[in-house]
């Protein structure tokens, strides 16, 4: 216990990130199940309005701040030093500090549930002025801000650490243009985090000053401006969307190249596209604010459309990597293909709502809920499960059961689409998001019932994944160091890797050192 509490080994820290994010994922999943149970039928009284507000706030907050983003960071903690041939990260103690700030920050957010008045209930965006005046936003709202401030600091510290590690600790011969795409995506993500997260920390600190020290930054009655909060929040918030997706682009690239038995198609294009997405994402924040009438809609619309170009480049490269490859449809590859299909829907609906006239119609409706769940849920979450199946043998020396994994994929893919396809139609029928009930008009009862049934199927899929983990660990079938025929450096060490990662480092002569070292390679 003490060993794990005090460890500074990047692998143990990475594993603790993964375990803690999966724990928060289970809680967020239970909250999502509560949302769908409440909305399964019109006029349901399972949850009251204030309880419902807390549930969807904590669900969104946990999924974004405590699951999807930190899982990517945690996986990077584990993998980046291995992929570049480094013995550890540049600042191991800083790394451990980041982990514990994240874990304590996450617990602090949920601790709001134990306070009088309950947890934060303002949505994950916690807009001003409702973060100050909304009924019931007591200590729970403060704990929300404190917890997320801690996770923000943690994320910034870890990003600096990862950047320094990649730039200064690469093994001899591992030039920047030889590092795996996952590591490149982490570099782009880390730069984005360093640029965007201070804005969030500023917004939350200012909100706390308003709540406790008499500040009036966002209070129009005293000359403040609530739109300023939205600027600060979304200057973080839209890059955050790419913090939530770029690492997963990297995961999918690694999986597709490995299971297609081909080098990454368009490696340089992939890297440039990642940085183009990161750069453009810093100029689109106010497309979340089209309907305020206080921003330049043409500017933000144009830049938002532009992001589709590098994202399209990535899709071409993924398909190019698979093209004429010897594709093995094992579980990680199934999740990668699921990612491609779902993320495509999220991307296309994103292009639709980048157009202000459409956004005016869709804003705050279930169409938006469908859109971002297809990008973050159908995209990142599928890649997350793909990563777990792909790197589990490396982390724990145990391969997850392939047969159960196929069922996990099938249930998640079916359940996910059954849940979220109806939401697009709900939005078009005018159903607003963040409402705890709705009238029995049009197709809304049927669409909501289907969505709730889909959520139940997804829940079964997630439960089956944890059963797979338990079954596989119990069986402990022997696994090779490289069970998939991977190409990057992490597959050239033992599973799990030893302290300081490599007993001996190979000569690195290309982007695929593991392939170079195999007998018969030229």
């Amino acid at each position: 216990m003490i060993e794990w509490l005090t460890t500074t080994d990047h692998k143990k820290i990475g594993i603790m990130y993964v375990v803690s994010t999966l724990s928060f994922f289970v809680i967020a999943g239970v909250l999502a199940a509560l949302i769908r149970a409440q909305l399964a039928v019109p006029g349901n009284t399972l949850l009251g309005p204030h309880a419902y507000n807390q549930v969807f706030t904590l669900h969104g907050t946990a999924m974004i701040f405590l699951v999807i983003a930190p899982f990517g960071i945690g996986l990077a903690n584990y993998l980046v030093p291995l992929q570049i041939g480094a013995p550890d990260v540049a600042f191991p103690r800083l790394n451990a500090t980041g982990l514990w700030l994240f874990v304590l920050g996450g617990i602090t957010v949920f601790a709001g549930l134990a306070t009088y008045g309950g947890a934060a209930a303002t949505g994950w965006t916690a807009y001003a002025p409702i973060n100050e005046f909304f009924v019931g936003t007591g200590a729970g709202q403060d704990l929300f801000f404190i917890g997320l401030l801690m996770t923000s600091i943690s994320t910034i510290l870890t990003s600096i650490n990862l950047l320094v590690t990649v730039f200064l600790f690469r093994a001899p011969g591992m030039t920047m243009w030889r590092i795996p795409i996952f590591t490149w995506e982490i570099v782009a993500t880390a730069v984005l985090i360093i640029m965007a997260f201070p804005s969030l920390a500023a917004a939350f600190a200012m909100a706390l000053i308003e709540r406790h020290l008499g500040g009036h930054f966002f209070d129009a009655a005293y000359g403040g401006n609530p739109i300023l909060y939205q600027h600060l929040f979304w200057f973080f918030g839209h890059p955050e969307v790419y913090v939530l997706i770029l690492p997963y682009f990297g995961i999918v690239t690694e999986i597709i190249a490995t299971f297609s038995r081909k080098p990454v198609f368009g490696y340089v294009g992939m890297v440039i596209a990642a940085f183009a997405i990161a750069a453009l994402s810093l100029g689109v924040w106010a497309h979340h604010m089209f309907t305020t009438g206080a921003v330049s809609n043409p500017f933000f619309s144009a830049v938002s459309f532009l992001i589709a170009v590098p994202t399209g480049v990535k899709f071409v490269n993924w398909i190019g990597t698979m093209w004429k490859g010897s594709i093995a449809l094992q579980v990680p590859m199934l999740f990668a293909i699921g990612f491609l299909l779902n993320f495509l829907i999220g991307g296309i609906t994103g292009v639709m709502i980048a157009s202000p006239p459409i956004d005016y119609q869709a804003h705050d409706s279930y169409f938006i809920v469908q859109h971002f769940h297809y990008t973050i849920g159908g995209g990142s979450m599928f890649a997350l499960f793909g990563a777990l199946y792909f790197w589990f043998p490396k982390m724990f020396g145990v391969k997850l059961e392939e047969g159960i994994g196929r069922w996990v994929f099938a249930l998640l893919f079916l359940g996910f689409n059954a849940t979220f396809i109806p939401m697009g139609f709900m939005g078009m029928e005018g159903m607003a998001r963040r409402v705890y009930t709705y009238p029995a008009v049009g197709h809304l009862p049927l669409l909501n019932a289907v969505a709730s049934a889909g959520a139940l199927i997804m829940t079964l899929g997630v439960a089956l994944f944890f059963i797979d983990v338990l079954v596989s660990i119990r069986r402990r079938a022997p696994v090779e160091d490289d069970p998939w025929g991977g190409y990057s450096l992490e597959w050239m060490t033992t599973s799990p890797p030893p302290e300081f990662n490599f007993k001996t480092l190979p000569a690195i002569r290309s982007r695929r050192p593991a392939i170079d070292s195999r007998p018969g390679s030229v």
């Binding site: 500074t8 500090t97 801690m150 200064l168 001899p172 360093i194 804005s199 810093l282």
Partner: protein
């Protein structure tokens, strides 16, 4: 270091260009322009710092022909395996933040604890 400088300089230039474009297109909207300008300045500072402070840095990872045998004997420093201070620093941070809102005594305890932890961590770092 060239890759670091190139990446940050390019990002800073992008930030500066988009800040200027935004200022004119968004009818001189101050909040967004300030955010973009601060971002560009920060990135430019990082690139300039790397140029000035690390101009002579030579990294084995930047040489495509370098091998582990050629780099043998180079000292990467000592990587610590355990330290009690990170988890304590995180606990003190939580105490400081919650104390600031509800309990000055807890806040002071958190601050003092944090300073002590950093002090000990610095000493530990100097030893290893």
């Amino acid at each position: 270091m060239r890759s670091f400088v190139g990446l940050f300089a390019f990002a800073a230039a992008f930030g500066a260009v988009i800040a200027v474009v935004y200022w004119f297109v968004a009818h001189e909207e101050a909040a967004g322009t300030a955010l973009l300008a601060v971002m560009a300045t920060g990135l430019a500072f990082a690139a300039a710092y790397a140029v000035v402070a690390e101009r002579d840095a030579r990294l084995e990872g930047d040489d495509p022909n370098e091998t582990p045998q050629m780099a043998a004997g180079d000292d990467l420093g000592v990587f610590t395996t355990n330290s009690p201070w990170p988890v304590l620093i995180a606990l003190c941070t939580l105490a400081l933040f919650t104390g600031l809102l509800w309990s000055p005594l807890l806040g002071i305890a958190g601050l003092v604890g944090m300073i002590l932890c950093f002090w000990r961590l610095g000493a530990e770092s100097a030893r290893t």
